[in-house]
Symmetry: C2
Subunit: 294 residues, 2 copies
């Protein structure tokens, strides 16, 4: 299939690579051209000088950029994606953005007979590289049915969650659950250390029961080591929580701990932890990092 992939960041770069390796004809575009050049050298596809150029010959256009503004600009802008797309094609967005911008794009795209699906992912950089992402899709069921196998080139699970916006809202639920959970885990480990317990031994016991979580299983070692230079960055988590809290103003959901943890992440940013993993909430409780960064 003829595919365009717009945005070769840490996620998009390997995702586009999986598509090319699966036998699709991929044409990429990236704001910084050098990345597109090195992508073509690595995978053997083509690149274009504008989003419109990449999209002009594609049956499916994928986009994976930074935030709402980046997405609007690359989709709606001069020489943007929609300027290049033919009718009866599909635009799939992998960026985590607001449900509102997804609905906006879907509406404009529909006018030129382009189908839109929002499809945020989870699984991180490693998931993208290994082709094992989880993809949460919002859009028409028929469009989902005819694109699912293509998305599967880099996913272990592709799920249709409902109409346009439902993918984004599902991703928001994911981030809400993680926010409270990681803070609880951080407080638990902090208390264990303050109590002079052996935190590894404590996790060894409590991870067998009702306190167990993926975060406990996969993050406690790095948290106890004070190692946060990996994983999902606090800056990205704050972007996602901003989207979550805006959406909650609209749907009326009451998210007291999510809002509080968002503020804790603001404090992590203030002590220089912008690129630290979300599990760095423990560093904040320990105020150890305050000393380190002085």
């Amino acid at each position: 299939m003829r595919i365009a992939f717009i945005g070769l960041g840490v996620m998009g770069y390997p995702m586009a690579g999986h598509l090319q390796k699966a036998g699709h004809q991929v044409c990429v575009y990236n704001r910084t051209p050098q990345k597109a050049v090195s992508w073509c050298e690595m995978y053997g596809g083509e690149s274009a000088n504008t989003p419109a150029g990449a999209a002009s010959n594609a049956e499916i256009v994928f986009v994976c950029v930074g935030n709402d503004d980046d997405l609007r600009s690359v989709v709606f802008g001069h020489e943007g994606i929609l300027a290049g797309m033919s009718s009866n094609t599909v635009l799939i967005d992998h960026t985590t953005v607001s449900a509102q911008v997804s609905e906006e794009i879907a509406e404009v795209a529909a006018k030129q007979h382009v189908s839109f699906m929002d499809a945020p992912v989870s699984g991180g950089q490693q998931g993208a590289e290994k082709g094992l992402l989880t993809v949460m899709v919002g859009g028409e069921a028929t469009v989902f049915a005819r694109t699912e196998s293509v998305i599967s080139c880099y996913a272990r699970a592709v799920r249709h969650m409902g109409p346009v916006g439902a993918g984004q809202k599902t991703k928001m639920v994911n981030q809400i659950c993680i926010a409270g959970l990681v803070q609880g885990l951080a407080e638990g480990l902090h208390f264990a250390k303050a109590s002079s317990l052996d935190p590894e031994a404590v996790v060894g016991v409590i991870s067998k029961g009702a306190a167990q979580s993926w975060q406990m299983d996969n993050r406690h070692k790095t948290m106890l080591a004070g190692d946060y230079n990996h994983g999902f960055a606090v800056d990205w988590m704050r972007k996602d929580l901003s989207i979550v809290l805006d959406e909650a103003r609209k749907n009326g959901a009451h998210l007291p701990v999510t809002a509080l943890v968002d503020q804790f992440y603001a404090a992590v940013q203030q002590i220089g932890g912008n690129r630290w993993d979300t599990s760095s909430l423990l560093a904040l409780l320990e105020a150890r990092s305050l000393v380190k960064t002085d």
Copy 2:
């Protein structure tokens, strides 16, 4: 082995039963005598009229009562456990109490050459009935070594966590982790419903990744059904969080979300949820129960 078991509540009743079934000679005591009578009918052991009477012939005395005050009274009181125990025996407490009362009892017991271990459990009523509890033990390693196999009669894991009090502190870490985690899960499910997503489908996707937890796997169905008449009661969780927050005042740990969730549980109590499961934090977010109980 000659064993006394003091306190035949929902936990102690089946735990004492497992000891008797394993071939030990168990003598029980319960404040309400009728329960001791029915226990003897069911399991064939003996009962005594006072804690001292039950303890007088025992090599190991187990106790499992309600809270710090109950424990002090049954251990130190007139005709209490320590009044009956011989020297060179072991007293093991399964109640979730403060580390301070554990240390108090250990000190007094030592004077009459009785070894003490704190040994709070997790796994709930079901774990007690099936003999699959997790037991977190604080005390001397040599005492642990010679009692571990007896405790194993009702446990799938018995772990030595450190000196007297370390069992209680480990249990506290467990409750801290659960508090933040369940609130995060409740906010996530609340948001999913407010967004008109299919919450079951959402859990189906996000439970495969970084938001996964035991609580998500085992409680989301009952939470979505508004069914809270099971599990670990809010009254007990508040008791445990009170112990946690007192201990944190001593060790200096900073537990902002744990303290906040404790207040949310106070609100659950106010709407009549004293006996509801800890997952009833969702009911509070939905304010549905406020209407129900009017």
